[in-house]
């Protein structure tokens, strides 16, 4: 890919913003490019990044899923409390949580795909329903983590030590899960017919159906996948926290959607990609975890975060406008020929 084409991509500008921000923090604090700080950031990114992968696929298919924190919380809470101490191996917890998440995702998918209700409203509704089940029927409260998941949560990939200050930071094993997930999602979206179907359905449903893609099946698949992923991520989160904290993930949906849009994923579907979503999440995480290093006071931190989001989104919006302008010119040329 030559440089000129690269500069036309949203991802390029997000990467530039990230780099500029990192250098700014480094200059102000001298602490950014230290082993332990990088490890801290990678750790903080793990969970939002995994959620972002799921949300990106839903957005590209033309939907939106606001219920994944609720699905993650309910599946996680169910397996951690009802299966407490049943297995020493963490695998069954993940499998059952994914199965539960898949069922909840199927509810979303069925309503959205079958009746063509707006995905945002449907998933807001089911989100409230799932949280209600967790808080009301299961009576959620803080709960100790089962030993199998506790030992998984204590497993580290590596420990970074800052030679100067002696501070140490651990990178949990979940980071590896995140990397695997990102690679799988990339393969799915770019190398399979199903990935093509997701883009096609999100771009233009009617055209996709005419081209022979199964629209209902694709939508069902995407919501089921998002649900199953949420179940998996929920268990990851509690094992990283080393405690079962049912309300910990509530409210993450907006940050995750914002990260996707920052990375150039279109809210109306059909456009975007895994690289953008990864960069968007990276930017959001780095900003929210560097304001203290940067010396921004607590009172001003929201203003700062808001500005970064607006600047980042503006970059991708301007890119999109330029693309459309070109598209418009060609169409109107044709129209003139016809007239």
């Amino acid at each position: 890919m030559n440089f000129k084409r690269l500069t036309k991509k949203t991802e390029f500008y997000i990467a530039v913003i990230i780099l500029a921000f990192c250098l700014l923090v480094q200059v102000r604090s001298g602490q950014f490019f230290t082993g332990n700080n990088i490890v801290d950031l990678l750790r903080s990114m793990t969970i939002p990044m995994m959620f972002c992968v799921g949300e990106m696929m839903v957005l590209i298919s033309g939907g939106v899923d606001c219920s994944f924190p609720a699905i993650a919380s309910l599946s996680m809470y169910f397996v951690c409390t009802k299966m407490d101490g049943m297995f020493d191996n963490p695998l069954p917890y993940f499998l059952v949580a994914m199965l539960l998440g898949l069922c909840m995702g199927a509810v979303n998918g069925f309503i959205v795909a079958k009746f063509k209700f707006p995905a945002m409203i449907v998933t807001l509704g089911t989100s409230s329903l799932f949280l209600g089940i967790m808080q009301g029927i299961l009576g959620s409260s803080e709960y100790p983590l089962t030993s199998g998941l506790y030992s998984l949560g204590s497993t580290k990939l590596l420990t970074a030590v800052n030679a100067k200050s002696g501070l140490t930071s651990d990178l949990p094993v979940h980071f590896a899960f995140m990397i695997i997930l990102v690679i799988l999602a990339w393969l799915l979206m770019n190398k399979t017919m199903l990935g093509r179907a997701i883009y096609a359905v999100g771009g233009d449903e009617v055209a996709a159906a005419r081209a022979g893609f199964h629209v209902f099946g694709t939508r069902m698949f995407i919501f089921c996948l998002s649900g199953a992923l949420a179940g998996f991520i929920g268990v990851c989160r509690s094992s990283m926290l080393l405690t079962v904290s049912p309300n910990n993930m509530i409210g993450m949906e907006m940050d995750v959607i914002a990260a996707c849009v920052l990375g150039g994923v279109s809210l109306i579907g059909g456009r975007g990609g895994i690289v953008g979503a990864v960069l968007g999440t990276a930017l959001m995480t780095i900003v929210s975890n560097s304001l203290i290093l940067l010396g921004v006071s607590t009172q001003w931190s929201r203003v700062f975060t808001g500005l970064i989001i607006i600047v980042g989104t503006a970059v991708s919006a301007i890119q999109e406008q330029q693309r459309k302008k070109k598209l418009f010119v060609t169409i109107s040329d044709k129209a003139e020929v016809k007239g």
Binding site: S141, Y143, S165, L242
Partner: protein
């Protein structure tokens, strides 16, 4: 057609869940009503048995306690205090509330209860302002209304708080100063800068440090950090603060999510003996951290005592006893109430406790 069918179906599902919710709460209300007289062991000495005396003089009151959510561990613990009081006095007192912390549901429950011939109503309001009309109605019916965690409620006879906020902050600071050897730099963490109680506690801690511990200093560049009521954010922020300000050796935590998050950060950074944290914490959430030494102590108030105190205060009101500075509710935490200077309905105890590895197993919430 299909959409119509679905809409009907969804309405039915909603109605079913709403009914299930009601069934759940009234069911558990029923349980606690029956459980209350059964729970008889009056093993508490002193104030408890004194309190029992006037009640046996023929008064048979009915006291309902409506809490924020009756499945929440905090209020399950509160129910223990209410049952203990009911057992000691023989008065019918029971706890109820929405299954989920929901203001609208709570108001509905209060509405139902005041139509049921009760003598006193104790409320831990979800949204104090929204409760005013229904509490007004209760007072109009001659019901004694006692609030807890609702210091600005107008339509109540009294609001009882476990402590005054500045006093609790000072208590946190005293514990922290001891761990820090009364010297060093510290900062304060709160849920949000807009959460009034959290900030009053943090202000109280700072005031106590300024008055009592001259060798300690508040971190000037960053005197207050927000955790957004999230353990993970507290953990991340604490790490960042410790990277940026290596001179820092102490934290106070206001929100119950702050303290365990900060403790995990300190531990992971390898600063366990150098940096200390004291603050609000929930025993279940902090049990592991207390036992493995990451946390030395957490501070809180015991909801069981608050439940007991509300019922006892309601009884005193019903019996027409005088209430003011120094009123004794028969518990060490509420043996000498203090009336707020600017609000004569606001009563405060000194009900804060500190929980360490040794006594954390006494608390299950």
């Amino acid at each position: 057609m299909k959409k119509k069918l679905l809409a009907t179906l969804m309405t039915a599902v909603m109605a079913a869940t709403a009914l299930a919710g009601c069934g759940g709460s009234s069911g558990s209300a029923g349980n606690s009503t029956t459980a209350a007289p059964a729970a008889a062991p009056a093993d508490n000495a002193g104030g408890g048995s004194e309190a029992a005396a006037p009640a046996e003089g023929g008064k048979d009151y009915k006291i309902a306690v409506v809490v924020k959510g009756n499945t929440n561990g905090w209020f399950i613990r509160m129910n223990e205090g209410i049952e203990k009081w009911a057992g000691e006095t023989g008065i019918n007192a029971w706890m109820t509330g929405p299954t989920d912390t929901d203001s609208a549901q709570q108001i509905q429950i209060i509405q139902d209860i005041i139509n049921q011939d009760i003598d006193a109503l104790c409320v831990v309001p979800v949204d104090p302002a929204a409760c005013e009309p229904v509490l007004q109605e209760a007072k109009d019916k001659g019901i004694v209304v006692i609030c807890h965690e609702g210091s600005n409620v107008e339509n109540c006879d009294y609001d009882i708080e476990a402590f005054n906020n500045a006093g609790y902050g000072a208590f946190i600071m005293d514990n922290l100063a001891e761990l820090m050897g009364k010297k060093g730099t510290y900062t304060t963490m709160v849920g949000f800068l807009t959460t009034a109680s959290h900030n009053e506690w943090a202000d109280g801690a700072v005031a106590q440090q300024e008055a009592q511990y001259p060798d300690m200093t508040l971190l000037a560049d960053l005197p207050r950090v927000e955790s957004e009521n999230n353990t993970e954010t507290a953990y991340e922020k604490a790490k960042e603060v410790l990277k940026k300000y290596p001179e820092l050796t102490g934290f106070t935590g206001s929100c119950s999510d702050d303290t365990p998050g900060i403790a995990r950060a300190i531990n992971e950074l390898g600063l366990a003996d150098k940096v200390h944290v004291v603050g609000t914490g929930m025993p279940n959430e902090c049990r592991e951290l207390l036992k493995n030494g990451s946390l030395t102590c957490i501070t809180l108030w015991d909801p069981a005592d608050a439940g007991y105190a509300m019922c006892e205060l309601a009884r005193k009101c019903l019996d027409g006893e005088e209430i003011g500075n120094g009123t004794d509710l028969g518990l060490p935490a509420y043996d000498s109430l203090q009336v707020d200077e600017s609000n004569e309905r606001l009563l405060m105890g000194n009900g804060f406790i500190s929980v360490t590895a040794d006594n954390v197993d006494d608390y299950d919430f």
